[in-house]
């Protein structure tokens, strides 16, 4: 039988649980972190709009490097993982531990698919000759998306630990629901950062007949 999480908690001066408050403060600071990374990428994309030169000395264009179908798929996967995370948090608040486990497994699975897509994309780019060292675009792109990928990997690890922790019988009541909610906040944040990256880094490359930065070859799509 399900047991509803108690709403009472130790009183704090703000009326907000400390764990939740600290997580929101961390997310606000992480916002600034990703803000600078995205700004740097866009700025250098503007200052150095041409592509890169591969190992054979050929000039390559960024616009024709991306695979919009793959990126759209991974974006959809991450959005749906956020949805499952919201359901997992909701299940914990209702005290439905089995439903929580089911949903959190879904989040982990979707997160792993997202990471798989990113690994595939990085491998594809490396085969095309784009490295972190041979162009400004390569440096800012790999640092930005790599940092995001690291956040996703940490989130997956956190959720795996929570999943196994739920079998110990200690993930119950208000504190258990709070632990899951804090992990959920982190996961949703990773999702909203990707929403911005998807538009600012990927979609803008496809705007206009020669890409947004106006230096690419006419797109064949």
């Amino acid at each position: 039988m399900s047991q509803v999480a108690e709403s009472s908690h130790a009183p704090t001066s703000t009326g907000i649980d400390h764990k939740k408050l600290i997580m929101w403060l961390f997310l606000a600071s992480d916002c600034m972190f990703f803000g600078t990374l995205i700004s740097t990428h866009l700025l250098y994309r503007k200052l150095y709009p041409t592509g890169f030169t591969d190992a054979e000395g050929h000039q390559r264009f960024i616009q024709n490097l991306f695979n919009i179908e793959l990126t759209s798929f991974s974006t959809f996967i991450l959005l749906m993982s956020s949805f499952l995370m919201a359901l997992a948090v909701s299940a914990m608040h209702k005290g439905q531990i089995k439903s929580f486990r089911r949903n959190v497994l879904g989040v982990i699975f979707f997160g792993l698919i997202f990471l798989g897509c990113q690994v595939y994309e990085f491998t594809h780019f490396l085969h095309q000759g784009l490295t972190i060292q041979n162009s400004v675009f390569g440096s800012t792109f790999y640092v930005l998306t790599g940092t995001h990928g690291t956040h996703v990997a940490i989130g997956i690890l956190w959720l795996i630990l929570l999943y196994f922790y739920s079998f110990t019988g200690k993930l119950v009541g208000h504190m258990g629901a709070l632990d899951v909610e804090v992990a959920g906040l982190y996961w949703h944040f990773v999702d909203i950062v990707w929403i911005i990256i998807f538009t600012a880094v990927y979609l803008v490359e496809y705007l206009g007949p020669t890409g947004f930065w106006g230096t690419g070859l006419p797109l064949t799509k």
């Binding site: 009326g15 600034m32 866009l42 759209s72 974006t75 959005l79 909701s90 998807f198 538009t199 947004f212």
Partner: protein
């Protein structure tokens, strides 16, 4: 209010949210689909860019308000996050303004 009544209210509230989450997930998927179609439309670049920014902002705020519970939680949490986001946006604007030129003298970097 009795403890049982409070529990019942909590469950009712969670069920209501559950339906909101499903509706929101469908909207997020639909908006992403619209974004992908938009980039291939032969429309003015500035119009598409504006629409893309608006759609991204809608998705962004939908997730933080509903999935991250900011709409249900303490108002202070909302302002903490907005402060971080505001600083990030200010950094972005400042950097773009500082380098708002088409070409820079790259000899300074060599």
């Amino acid at each position: 209010m009795s403890h049982a009544a409070t529990d019942h209210n909590l469950v009712t509230e969670e069920i209501r949210r559950y339906h909101h989450f499903i509706t929101l997930a469908l909207w997020l998927a639909a908006i992403t689909g619209v974004e992908i179609v938009l980039i291939f439309l032969p429309v003015s670049l500035s119009i598409i860019l504006t629409v893309l920014c608006v759609l991204s902002a809608i998705k962004f705020f939908a997730v933080i308000l509903w999935f991250m519970h900011l709409i249900y939680d303490h108002r202070l949490l909302f302002w903490i996050f907005i402060a971080g986001m505001g600083l990030a946006f200010a950094t972005f604007t400042a950097l773009l303004s500082l380098f708002a030129v088409d070409r820079i003298d790259t000899k300074w970097f060599s």
